[in-house]
Amino acid sequence: METIKLTIDNKKAEVPKGTTIHKAARQMGIEIPTLCYMELHDLNIENKPAGCRICMVEVEGRRNLAPSCATRCEEGMVIKTHTTRVLNARRTVMEFILSDHPKDCLICPKSGNCELQAMANKLGIREIPGQEIAAMSTYRKDTSPSIIRDLDKCILCRRCEMMCNDVQTVGALSAVNRGFMATVAPAFEQNLEYSSCTYCGQCVAVCPTGALTEVDHTPEVLRALADPSKTVIVQTAPAVRAALGEEFGMAPGTLVTGKMVSALRALGFDYVFDTDFAADLTIMEEGTELLGRLNRHLKGDTTAKLPILTSCCPGWVNFFEYYYPDLKDIPSTAKSPQQMFGAIAKTYFAGKIKINRKDLVVVSIMPCLAKKYECQRDEFSTENNRDVDFSISTRELAAFIKQANIDLNNLEEGEFDAPLGESTGAGVIFGTTGGVIEAAVRTAYELQTGKKLERLDFTELRGLEGVREATIDFDGLPVRIGIAHGLGNARKLLDDVRSGKSQFHAIEVMACPGGCIGGGGQPLHHGNSEIIKARAAAIYTEDRKKPLRKSHENPFIIKLYEEFLEKPNSEKAHHLLHTHYFERKKKILVKP
């Protein structure tokens, strides 16, 4: 590899050709401050518009300061990262940025977790000269079912735009206007609700300020908990336990399943259940549907549509409803685990404890913002009573625990309640990319072949590669599987399906890079992809520790079918656990 020698802050270094100054400095232990630059290395995501102009450094022989994030190292470069000139420039630019930013940090949802606030602190900004005559760029606030846009706080780092367009190919956001009024918004600066937004929340996950945040549903949850007439139950998604600890100072990848259960119980939930249980249920339904379609296909039934697409990710569902309405009969009709849980809770479980569904409040803890929208969908309500009443994110739960003065670190390990708290390792791995399909394979293999599956770790389905494919031998029958995470990657597979080129039998799609562990509702990674990798490792650890690792072996699932649902894909199961999809893109009405 060709290398380049250079000097940074009087230290000599040798870096591969093409390395930027920022990366070279980082390798030498010099962290040059920046606001807009962000890299998620293993996910191939990089944002470097070189727009914030905070990471400026002095390069000997150059007339102007250079943005370290976007300047390639050249042979013999002599770079200084903290001269008086650099520090004055950085401070002045920061003062510019702050002069057009509200100063309501005290009540900002991002306070304490805001990269701009941290930068102001780091640079020791104590006043903003000229603030009294400085006009602010102000915009209308927008609240959608999942996401709040408060663009007065936008610093135009363009990370959200990059995620929405380059990574997710959703195209809901674009830079709009020019100059001082430039910002990032949907078309016509309309509300997100009227755009192609899937509520995947990746824009929120990368926003360095309070410009993009989630809608906070904890007040509603608190109100329900305080209402003596309500029985309030909670379900926790698999990815939450692998990330919640980060909000309490624990190392990324620390599993806090037991402490989380205790915290929820301490918060006053009447029953603490697990979405993993519903994930096992999903496998029963979706796996059966897959085998049904596959076997019909093998028998030559041309009406059997393949590949089958997973449908547990609501961001992904929103995406294909908008961009691929012509393919809306291809995804599995199985509801997502969150909604399966809600449907079973408000029927089976409500019956068990003998209360009216209206007196049962179902709360979900999700790594996801699209789940907030999903639970508000009309088709997931019965007589105006939602199957899942409220969905709050991992971040909201952390804030809730802190508000209640609960010390997560020192809690006892609690156990989920029965019957909806029992799960297998298959349910756990739903939390990471490739996990749903791996769980499905574990069950489908045994159902299809009637043989016991010896090898449970399908490493060929794991990893962070954006699009992965594998062929699994179902005892002589090769089952071809595709996996995509990130909607841009999903689009590649979908385009092949649309054009008839796709050779897959089943495709798993997760909207967020990394799957749910990288969800829009998770603790912020601030551009560190190691965090996402650590969470994935934690998920697989949890799976390995479980005594049962195949969904169909979950005794409570077996019991649920025996007592209530009869068998997978039964009429009752269809009624409660399956859904249908809509075309979401607005039509252009033509006047006659």
Partner: protein, 597 residues
């Protein structure tokens, strides 16, 4: 070549056509027909003559007699007297404002005397819609020579040796730029002509495109041959409909003549040109922004490197030059690098076109050799300051430039001297200001433009320029304090040092240059709260001189806000806290008792 003996050239530039030069053209045609002269005399709509203050202008060829301020009604005289009787129409000839002498021929015009026309060589002389006339004036001869006698490297060497530097603003050596594009190997390359002229007060590119479009097309083809590109794109302002129409005609004609398209002149070299439209964004003059705009995106610049020569339009090596640069190419090929480099100063060769405007007598487009002094431009070509006022400053380089002052009057004008003086060449706007112009307000005006035109991508330009503008505005309103001047200085330096593209890196120049050259004027604004030029309304005070006031009460009666009090036949006074400075009292007073101070 026209077969007729005589030609009447009617200036079709914007200033002239706004003054009915179209009707004038029609009348001339009708009049010729009426005199059965239409086969002997042709009427041609030409490009801008550069005599904008004298428009509409008609030139009779071949004797080059120029008639100025011609009305449509004057056509009869021109035909009857000049063409038929051979007598010049004296009242329509140019009268030198200084000597009062009548100057009939173009070559003796004071504004044209110090000029040297390379870029504008054919403007106003040929019919821009007739390729044959262009060819008769040597168009495409250089291309022919290049294609048949030279290798790409030879052409690049000539351009390099000529010392030609980019006329769009930065002054990057053109030959070097071509060489880099040549050295970047690719199956596809592009030649782009930047015709998105956006400096407020500059219109030379427009004049070239309207007056001599083939000069640009030919040069682009030469560039294409040199760097190995088969496709050219002209990025032009949509607000220039005439230039667009003439370019389209020229491209069509060049294709018909085999001078564009496949296998040009049978040499096997193919090159074609397409037009892309700008849509009103000054920042698109920056080459990376321009390329993004041509790709259907927001015209936001990106960090260089990579330079367009490496990765430009559609990710392919792309060479971007502006109109004026291209217009220099053919003469260099035909007359040689030595000839071109003999003109100008050590590091700035050839000529430069300026759009001379502002408080000057002879407004118009001028082309002068590099190294000419500001004094020559203003007093010899420009005919001095209007109304005998005192010269204060000349702003060059538009919103990216700065002011030249009295002390720069004898400095030779070239790229490096302008930079050293805190200004820049820019695209060539030159606005002359007199003693009535407040330099703080001028700086504010340019910042107003930059704030409007900033793309918003980087924070120093998006927010910093806004803050600069606000502070300047504050100062012109008399609310500034002395410490503000240091803040202006610091903000300006940081914006220059940290902005992403040339727009932001140069936008504080008007502030820095006026602050450096007219610091005492700034100080007057922030200390004694006075505007020495008397332009800042908020710093003016209306005052009644008691010696002159007869107590007629006229002013008090006309004052819309009752700010003036006083008994009849006694001195009146103006209450400055009520006065809205509307000026009604001054107009009304017959005794010159009301003054502004």
């Amino acid at each position: 070549m026209a077969k007729q003996k005589k030609q009447l050239l009617v200036c079709g530039g914007k200033s002239c056509s706004s003054h009915n030069s179209e009707v004038l053209y029609d009348n001339l045609c009708l009049e010729l027909e009426a005199n059965a002269l239409e086969n002997e005399v042709s009427v041609v709509r030409s490009g801008c003559f550069g005599l904008c203050h004298l428009g509409p202008v008609v030139m009779v060829m071949p004797e080059k007699v120029v008639y100025v301020k011609v009305n449509p009604d004057d056509t009869r005289d021109i035909i009857a007297e000049h063409l038929i009787k051979g007598r010049k129409v004296e009242r329509l000839l140019y009268h030198d404002p200084v000597s009062g002498k009548i100057i009939p021929e173009e070559k003796d015009f004071a504004p044209l005397k110090k000029q040297m026309r390379i870029v504008l060589r054919n403007c106003g002389i040929i019919d821009p819609e007739n390729i044959e006339e262009a060819i008769a004036h040597d168009a495409y001869e250089a291309l022919g020579r290049v294609l048949t006698e030279m290798k790409p490297a030879d052409v690049i060497r000539i351009i390099r040796d000529s010392g030609l530097r980019g006329r769009g603003g930065g002054g990057f050596p053109t030959g070097l730029k071509w060489e880099i594009a040549y050295n970047n190997k690719s199956d596809e390359k592009y030649v782009v002509c930047n015709a998105d002229e956006g400096d407020p007060g500059a219109f030379m590119d427009r004049s070239v495109l309207e007056g001599d479009p083939h000069a640009v097309l030919e040069a682009m083809a030469i560039c294409g041959y040199s760097i190995g590109a088969g496709k050219g794109l002209i990025y032009i302002r949509a607000e220039y409909p005439l230039a667009v129409a003439r370019l389209k005609t020229a491209i069509r004609q060049a294709r018909d003549y085999g001078l564009l398209g496949d296998d040009i002149m049978g040499t096997g070299f193919s090159f074609d040109i397409e037009i892309r439209y700008g849509a009103g964004a000054f920042v698109c003059g920056e080459e990376t922004a321009l390329i993004h705009s041509m790709e259907g995106l927001r015209g936001e610049p990106t960090v260089k490197p990579p330079f367009p020569a490496e990765s430009g339009f559609r990710g392919k090596p792309t060479n971007v030059n502006n109109v004026e640069t291209f217009a220099c190419i053919s003469p260099i090929i035909l007359k040689g690098a030595k000839w071109f480099s003999s003109i100008g100063t050590e590091k700035s060769k050839g000529t430069k076109v300026f759009a001379l405007a502002g408080k000057i007598n002879n407004v118009g487009l001028i082309e002068v050799p590099m190294g000419i002094t500001l004094r020559e431009v203003i007093y010899e070509i420009g005919g001095g300051i209007r109304n005998g006022k005192k010269f204060k400053a000349a702003q060059t380089g538009g919103p990216s430039g700065g002011c030249l002052t009295e002390k720069h009057l004898d400095t030779p004008i070239d790229f490096d001297n302008l930079l050293a003086a805190g200004s820049m060449m820019g695209s060539g706007g030159m606005i002359v200001m007199d003693e009535d112009d407040c330099m703080v307000s001028v700086a504010r005006f340019f910042l107003d433009f930059t704030v409007e035109e900033s793309c918003g991508k980087c924070s120093p330009c998006r927010i910093g320029n806004k803050r600069l503008h606000e502070l300047l505005d504050h100062i012109t309103k008399g609310k500034g304090v002395p410490a503000d001047l240091d803040r202006l200085m610091n903000m300006s330096m940081v914006i220059k040092d940290t902005s992403l593209c040339g727009l932001g890196q140069s936008s504080p120049n008007p502030v820095l240059s006026t602050l450096n050259n007219f610091r005492e004027e700034y100080e007057a604004h922030v200390t004694v709260k006075k505007c020495p030029a008397g332009q800042c309304r908020d710093l003016m005070e209306y005052f009644i001189i008691s010696e002159n006031c007869v107590g007629c009460t006229a002013c008090a009666r006309v004052c819309p806000v009752n700010a003036i009090t006083g008994e009849r036949k006694e001195t009146h006074t103006i209450n400055p806290s009520i006065c809205i400075k509307c000026g009604a009292c001054i107009e009304k007073c017959k005794f010159d008792a009301v003054i502004i101070r």
